[in-house]
């Protein structure tokens, strides 16, 4: 079997382990085993990628993993159990930012990702995928930062509402999608980076009208976004591990936030549109 097939098979094993991890976390008896499956799946996904021929230099990678991993473990061991929702929000912001950076890397050096056509332009399909990935990643990042700040009490948990808010968000959303469309005909840096900047603003504006009491639902929603961002980038890089896992996280995160709304007897749309749930946790 050639290397490419081996890699794809290993990614499949990792994806199955992620499914079992999510399943395992659904009930107390299987939850610990589920978490182990998740770790194993991640180890296989990372190990497989590192062994793939695209990776020829290890020093910086090892350094980055060691620094990031140490910070992560330190935070995880020190954090108070009561601060869990904001910790998850903070972690999401990192995934969002990582997604923006990976999309940015693919945009900066498309040749090394095999994304160039004969004329030396980035494939139109790849432009759509990388711009959507960057946009959703940026929304995830700034949205999660706000969610974190609200849960941590750094800013008031009260919903921030103003006249015409939904219209403004709709306008910005349309403008962002317009930039994605324009990026297909013009691959200049200003288009890509304006889109990223606009998406940062949009993520911020989408979350400020939501009250602190509804933040756990929002955190789960943002989790879902980070999955869609990963899937978008998976399409760009033709990477099955990213596509499968991104879709899995995207849909399960959305369902989980729906279940949480039901549990609180709240309407999903009211929570997402915001202006309700002025709150409690930011005391």
């Amino acid at each position: 079997m050639d290397m490419q097939n081996m890699t794809a098979l290993a990614y499949l094993v990792a994806a199955v382990l992620f499914v079992l991890a999510l399943r395992g976390l659904s009930s107390p008896e299987t939850s610990r085993a589920g978490n182990m499956m998740g770790m194993l799946g991640m180890a296989i996904a990372v190990g497989t990628t590192i062994l793939s021929p695209e990776i020829t230099s290890y020093g910086w990678i090892i350094g980055s993993v060691v620094v990031g991993g140490a910070v992560g473990l330190l935070i995880a061991s020190r954090i108070a159990m009561t601060a869990m929702p904001q910790l998850v929000a903070a972690f999401h912001s990192l995934v969002g930012l990582a997604a923006v950076l990976v999309a940015g890397a693919a945009y900066a050096n498309p040749a090394s990702f095999d994304l160039l056509d004969a004329a030396g332009r980035i494939f139109v399909a790849s432009r759509v995928e990388m711009s959507l990935g960057a946009m959703i990643g940026a929304i995830t990042f700034s949205g999660s930062v706000i969610a974190f700040a609200k849960l941590q009490g750094l800013v008031s948990g009260k919903p921030v509402v103003f006249a015409g808010q939904h219209w403004l968000n709709a306008l910005l959303g349309v403008a962002a999608l317009g930039l994605v469309a324009y990026f297909c005909v013009d691959q200049s840096p200003w288009v890509f980076w304006s889109l990223v900047a606009l998406a940062f603003v949009l993520g911020f504006l989408l979350i400020i009208p939501i009250g602190g009491a509804d933040m756990p639902v929002v955190v789960s929603m943002l989790n879902s976004y980070s999955g869609w961002a990963a899937a978008g980038i998976g399409f760009t890089l033709h990477n099955s591990a990213l596509i499968i896992t991104g879709a899995l996280v995207g849909s399960s995160g959305a369902i989980l936030s729906y279940i949480m709304c039901k549990g609180m007897n709240r309407s999903f749309f009211n929570v997402i549109l915001g202006g309700f749930g002025g709150d409690s946790s930011a005391a």
Binding site: L25, E54, S57, A98, A105, N223, L248
Partner: protein
């Protein structure tokens, strides 16, 4: 190229359905741990970051890739570790 896209789209759509069905039966007490583990799993974006960080030459892509690897690593190690801590507490309480 096109056949390739369709097969990628197929696994994407099927994975959405798997994600949809897999979490419906979660017990309320496990919402937060489930969220934490989903978060850890979403850092699979590290795969893309590693590919960006892979080449020998120090390009903009490599710099972005290395930063993304570090950010995702915080999330991977932190996410799974914190889930384990939560689950350990859950067991003690029983």
């Amino acid at each position: 190229m096109h056949g390739d896209f369709v097969s990628q789209l197929s696994i994407f759509v099927l994975a959405i359905f798997v994600g949809y069905y897999v979490v419906w039966s979660v017990t309320p007490a496990l919402h937060t741990p489930l969220m934490a583990v989903t978060n850890a799993i979403s850092s699979v974006i590290v795969v893309g970051a590693l590919i960006a960080a892979g080449p020998v030459d120090m390009t903009q892509a490599k710099v972005f890739g290395c930063i993304a690897v570090a950010l995702a690593s915080v999330n991977i190690f932190g996410g799974f570790a914190v889930t384990q801590r939560m689950l350990a507490m859950y067991k003690k309480k029983k």
